[in-house]
């Protein structure tokens, strides 16, 4: 499965642009001040962070291997199959962090967690008490 995810892009820049498509979908809404930032990590990594006009789908949905959260035309491009494919194309391991109010999710898309027979995209959902 991992290998098939990496075969979708001719060049890694297109994988990155696909991820940015998700950011634009989430941030470009009427009367919403959208914000996207990219930076690098010293350990050969990059960070993409954005706010979102609507609630971000739970990683329970987003990181399900054979299902996308793309349920309607309104949500096309927001954190669906493209996320896994683009992450697998760009990096050996990615950490997905989402915040909705006081809830935060952490998910991992890592090549080393995959086996021939099983796709493993672990995620953890937690709530903060102090941030409510």
């Amino acid at each position: 499965m991992w290998e098939s995810w990496t075969n979708n892009y001719e060049h890694s820049r297109f994988a990155c642009l696909d991820l940015l498509d998700n950011c634009f979908d989430a941030t470009l809404h009427q009367m919403f001040e959208g914000k996207v930032a990219m930076d690098y990590l010293p350990t050969n990594g990059i960070i993409i962070i954005n706010n979102a006009a609507k609630e971000i789908k739970s990683l329970e949905e987003t990181l399900t291997a054979y299902r996308s959260v793309k349920g309607s035309a309104d949500t096309i491009g927001e954190y669906g199959v493209g996320l896994k494919q683009a992450c697998a194309t760009l990096s050996h391991s990615s950490f997905v962090l989402t915040r909705n109010f006081n809830r935060f999710d952490i998910g991992v898309i890592a090549e080393s967690l995959q086996t021939r027979s099983r796709v493993s995209l672990p995620y953890i959902l937690r709530s903060l008490l102090k941030a409510s």
Binding site: T6, H11, S12, R13, C16, L17, L20, N22, C23, F24, T27, L28, Q30, E33, G34, V36, A37, M38, D39, Y40, L41, T43, N44, G45, I46, I47, I48, I49, N50, N51, A52, A53, E55, I56, L83, C87, T89, L90, S91, H92, S93, S94, F95, V96, L97, T98, R99, N100, F104, I106, V108, A110, S112, L113, P122, I124, R126, L128, K130, A131
Partner: protein, 131 residues
């Protein structure tokens, strides 16, 4: 309040890592460069950043931390015929260059895109961009 959130995030991340050895292994290798405490610290700092001054007014925040990049290094070396020390930076600079060409009609107001702290300038979009 901020200190309490930071403390709570620290406790959560530390617990998540201890309870999930597979995640701990990935983080230790790629975020901590072999050091599990550094890995936890990097992840905690990334989470805290989502509640930092820059993002604290937001209610929905998405952050993707990609480590151990694959193709950028190979492509950069191929393209320039030499060893690239900072492939992640090269990718970001490439994206900065091509982004305004790929995305037209991005609104200049009510939207901000930064790469390494510097604003990316898009072609000014029309007022009905959101349609």
């Amino acid at each position: 309040m901020k200190e309490e959130i930071e403390r709570e995030l620290n406790q959560h991340i530390t617990a998540i890592m201890k309870e999930n050895p597979q995640i701990m292994a990935v983080a230790t290798k790629d975020l901590g460069v072999g050091n599990r405490y550094k890995a936890i610290d990097v992840l905690v700092q990334r989470c805290i950043y989502m509640w930092s001054d820059e993002w604290q007014d937001q209610v929905h925040v998405f952050q993707l931390v990609m480590t151990n990049l694959i193709h950028t290094e190979d492509e950069a070396i191929r393209a320039r015929g030499g060893i690239q020390k900072r492939p992640a930076v090269n990718l970001l600079e490439e994206i900065r260059e091509i982004l305004p060409k790929y995305y037209i009609n991005i609104p200049a107001d009510k939207f901000e895109f930064t790469i390494r702290g510097q604003k990316v300038v898009f072609v000014i979009g029309s007022s009905d961009w959101w349609k």
